[in-house]
Symmetry: C2
Subunit: 146 residues, 2 copies
DNA sequence: ATAATAATGATAATGATTATCATTATTGGG
DNA sequence: CCCAATAATGATAATCATTATCATTATTAT
């Protein structure tokens, strides 16, 4: 991976932007100051940087991937209502990981955990008026590591 | 959510197919026996069923979403090399979840955990010839729940 | 300084998913 | 049991995110 002005700009912008932007969002942000940088370059760099572990790619939120300049081990909470992403500065135990390796007989190199639900703001807003049609969605949350 | 023949067929097919298919794959499978069912119907039903918690939507693997008829709490391992998905029949402790709720001050209704790495098969195949360019990818795996 | 080659930018192309809309099927009253 | 309300369907157009292409430019090891 060679250096390039554009790569630096993308990294810096991601750092500044803070709120787990999509490639598209970050591109628009960058475009304000650097109208000469193309979309493809932003996509390319974000992907390359995340492949190398220098940034984090977060998937499974909405349609698109989000990116996070923080590579410290942490997880995410996504509000089902407003879509906002919150950081959860938490680690997972090595015990869990070795358990998983045991189960699968596979070598684990990375993992991803994300929680969903309602953030405080949305919960307050929707108090009394349920945003979900029925209770089918009230998911069973597991009890104890097995 | 009303009943329909198509919904039953989609659910049954997902059950039969077993291997965490994408909507597209499942559509092709269904199409063999039921050429009258459209793609949109398969997509619609899979999404609706997963919203209701009757099946599981798995995201963040490749470009597309996969679906899983098993709603028992479990996680997934995805091979970075061949893309195969393995089940990990594991639960997460309530302690972790309440910790996460504490951190975020949000109400958690569901969670998702996925591991990545190399499956046994691919590891054997690639022994000696590293498929990754460098060691930057050897991700720091966290130590102990903090 | 230079040759090899990785990165760039513009844009076309792709792939997955959703929206549209006229038609059909399901369902809870009467 | 029939009927009105409306959810579901199928075909296809449209959208959205992302990747491929390719000629040009920039970086880097020698």
């Amino acid at each position: 991976m060679r250096n390039s002005k554009q790569k630096d700009i993308v990294l810096l912008a991601l750092d500044e932007y803070r709120v787990h932007p999509t490639a598209e969002e970050l591109y628009k942000y960058i475009h304000q100051k650097h109208s000469d940088i193309g979309v493809a370059t932003v996509y390319r760099n974000l992907n390359k940087l995340s492949e190398k572990g220098l940034i984090k790619k977060i998937t499974g939120l909405d349609g698109s991937s989000h990116f996070d300049s923080c590579t410290e081990p942490h997880f995410h909470f996504i509000c089902d209502c407003c879509g906002k992403i919150y950081d959860i500065p938490m680690n997972i135990s090595n015990y869990l990981i070795s358990k998983a390796e045991e189960f699968t007989d596979c070598k684990i190199t990375s993992m991803d955990m994300s929680f969903r639900g309602l953030c405080r703001e949305c919960e307050d807003k929707h108090r009394g008026s349920p945003i979900f049609e029925d209770k089918e969605l009230e998911m069973l949350l597991a009890a104890g590591v097995t």
